[in-house]
């Protein structure tokens, strides 16, 4: 009987890690030709896993106190609906040494034109340091006229390594769309 008074559930619409396939480097204090393709690096023995993964990324070159800016793009469909669409984003991330992340959701129509740009969270830092998995969250309600299109969630992370060792960065995004069934 619960269906009559609410409680319908939707699966997760997107859950994905940052990988060399969806992430590029747009700035790197150690130099290079941009965009640069990140590489998977061996993290320290105390680096946390995030949901089972420790495939941390870094630039192909490495320097002390290096600052690298990663841009990751995640796509998911918005579907054809006759009601507005609530979308929530949770982003779990970790890195060495300091990490600052921002998330922006763009809605792209069938012609590939961006018709809405929505900041989801801005300048969230890994205050707990390299052994912490930080959580950044945000949500939005997409209007009916934006649907039937594609959403692109862009996560930009600026990571600064320490004086010793190689930096690293790993994130996992989880997107929920809440739809009445």
């Amino acid at each position: 009987m619960t269906d009559m008074i609410g409680g319908e559930k939707m699966p997760i619409v997107l859950q994905s890690f940052t990988t060399p396939g969806n992430t590029s480097i747009v700035a790197n204090s150690a130099g290079g030709t941009f965009p640069q393709i990140p590489v998977v690096v061996q993290p320290s023995s105390t680096a946390p896993f995030i949901d089972g993964s420790n495939a941390y990324l870094w630039a192909p070159n490495s320097a002390a106190n290096q600052t690298v800016t990663f841009v990751s793009e995640f796509n998911f469909p918005l579907g054809l609906l006759n009601v507005a669409l609530p979308v929530s984003v949770n982003y779990a991330f970790s890195g060495s040494e300091t990490v600052v992340v921002s998330g922006v959701l763009e809605v792209v129509n069938l012609l590939g034109i961006v018709i809405a740009t929505i900041p989801v969270f801005t300048n969230i830092a890994n205050a707990g340091g390299p052994t912490s998995v930080e959580i950044a969250s945000g949500n939005t309600l997409l209007a009916l006229q934006l649907l039937g299109t594609t959403a692109v969630l862009t996560i930009t992370a600026t990571v600064t390594s320490g004086a010793v060792g190689t930096g690293n960065y790993l994130g996992q995004v989880t997107v929920n769309e809440v739809i009445a069934l």
Partner: protein, 172 residues
Amino acid sequence: MPVALQAFTTPENTVRIADSATAPGPVVPVGPAIPLIDGNSSYIWSPVSVSGQTVTFRSVFTLGAPLLSVALPLTVYYAYAGNETVSVTGTLQVLNLLGVVVLTVPLFSGDTNLGNPLNVSTIAADTLLAASILGGTINITIDAVVTAPITTPYEPVNTGRYLGQITVQTIV
């Protein structure tokens, strides 16, 4: 909308409902330990610690259910870690103003940390609550079954531990 609720498991919101080493009851802080979750290293455990111990924790997180003329979309995101194997189940209940449960929604069940104490595992679920049931309280219950490492001889350094953080978003 901002985040409606973000909270860690603590001795205030969490009890042991089963414990292979002692009677159920309150939890105690242990640690600090890694990994941190969102900057927090305040793990909890039983006051008694033995090799291979299994403890079931129950955490209850409460938020008000607003009075709305439209339905309320709600997302629950749970990040957790522990030593050594953790399995979590989440349930949402809506209580009316009299405290009577009017709706129970299973959120997720049996999600694990893969037995990896360095792993911060994440699980998410969402639901749409009808306007007719709002105006009371929403309780989200997270049950976690945590099994400590088996060590011979038993080493206190391998004490079990558990930490979780819930993030609830409502989209109005």
